[in-house]
Amino acid sequence: MKTSKASRPVTAFAGTVLLLGLLASCANTPPSTSLNAGADPPSAVAATPPVPQDLVKLLASDGVQVETASLADASQVEQSGISGDAATKFSVDEYGGAPEVHVFLVRVTNANAHPTDEPNALLISGALAYLVQMQGLAMEPMGGGSDPSKDDGATHSELDVFVDAMAGTELFSITVR
């Protein structure tokens, strides 16, 4: 909408006041309560999104490559795009919760789960997805009927849940470690 000439000085003044107010507000912002709470103030280097090494290790072993787009902790998921109806489609509690949860925003760049495979049914190349890493779990393999596995060494401790960043719907989840 165009602004009339008569109102421009008023708008400019109001904008200046608003800007000053924002600056003052920023100066009083309390420390972050995210995963980095207590860490040194962010620097230019720290602003670079950390690389989720576990994800890279997991997917690289499967021939899948991802690019890290940004990092968020669980409390920031709603602010990062999953909100409203979409937010109700995903819940960490769906998997029973976990002692520790980390959320990464990633972009899948190769949808083949394995080098010799057809593209994964739900892992879409180019898709933006949230990777929810649920750590501290204890998951055992199911085993076959004739001689089920009873080896404690086979237990995995992490479940990685992939969530469509646009729709908020779960794509799939996979055991790790």
Partner: protein
């Protein structure tokens, strides 16, 4: 005609349930028991085929909600699935079906594979379970095909004609021969319920096996029923050897 005692008993039951519902509205329609063990002890109800080396195992499952034991103490859960397995030990397999374990809120469709090498020094990539939202519906039939590739040696896990996962290894080098088809319900704690209830069985139909390259999928040649180790679990052939039901009455 209903007998008077039966009618009055029904009324009493209704009144009892109504009063119970006032204080416990989430009372389940099933009666699973408390968790007994703090570690998984796998128990199976279903069929394993010994008719020869299997290259494909397939079947249709009507999915049913999984009811776990109460008072989670570390490991519980149940599942139903179709599997292609090796002969070396219980850790050589690729499977697809539905599952609810530990503290999951809902039953979900899953695929899982294992190269059989998970020992005390097992790394992270020897077995993987993947949960697939949106497929499990409760009471619906899905087709599961666990198939060996004569080109790559890998095994794919397909649900309703869509491949959801593939082993990252050739089973020729990782599994001991012969390979078998399995169709089972599985639980991890005697307090868990095998899928299916007296009123709504978990059904396995159209189970079949491919025994050679290029051959058609045929009926299992030697389908043997697993022992019913868990209390209150039931197995019944509906059309031997290609269809059976399982259910739990605890």
């Amino acid at each position: 005609m209903r007998s008077p005692w039966r009618v009055s008993a029904t009324v009493c039951l209704l009144v009892s349930f109504a009063s119970l519902g006032a204080t416990w509205r989430s009372a389940p329609a099933f009666a699973n028991g408390p968790c007994i063990w703090n570690q998984a002890i796998h128990t199976f109800t279903g069929v394993e085929d010994f008719g020869g080396t299997a290259y494909i195992a397939e079947g249709n499952l009507r999915d049913r909600l999984v009811h776990q034991c109460t008072g989670f103490d570390g490991s519980s859960g149940a599942s139903a699935w179709v599997m292609l397995s090796g002969s070396g030990n219980g850790s050589e397999y690729a499977q697809a079906g539905y599952i609810k374990v530990n503290q999951m809120n809902n039953t979900k469709t899953f695929t899982e594979w294992n190269d059989g090498e998970c020992g005390s020094s097992c790394g992270s990539s020897h077995w993987t379970r993947t949960l697939w939202p949106g497929i499990f519906q409760g009471g619906h039939v899905h087709e599961y095909i666990i198939g060996y590739s004569f080109t790559t040696g890998h095994v794919s896990m397909a649900i309703d004609n869509t491949t959801y996962d593939t082993t990252p290894f050739s089973i020729e080098t990782e599994w001991s021969a012969p390979w078998h088809g399995q169709w089972e319900g599985e639980l991890l704690d005697y307090g868990d319920d095998i899928p299916g209830t007296a009123d709504a069985h978990a059904t396995f139909t159209h189970i079949g096996v491919q025994y050679c390259r290029g051959c058609a999928v045929v009926d299992p040649g030697d389908a043997q029923k697993e022992n019913e180790l868990a209390p209150d679990t039931h197995f019944q052939w509906v059309n031997q050897p290609v269809a059976f039901d399982i259910w739990d009455t605890s």
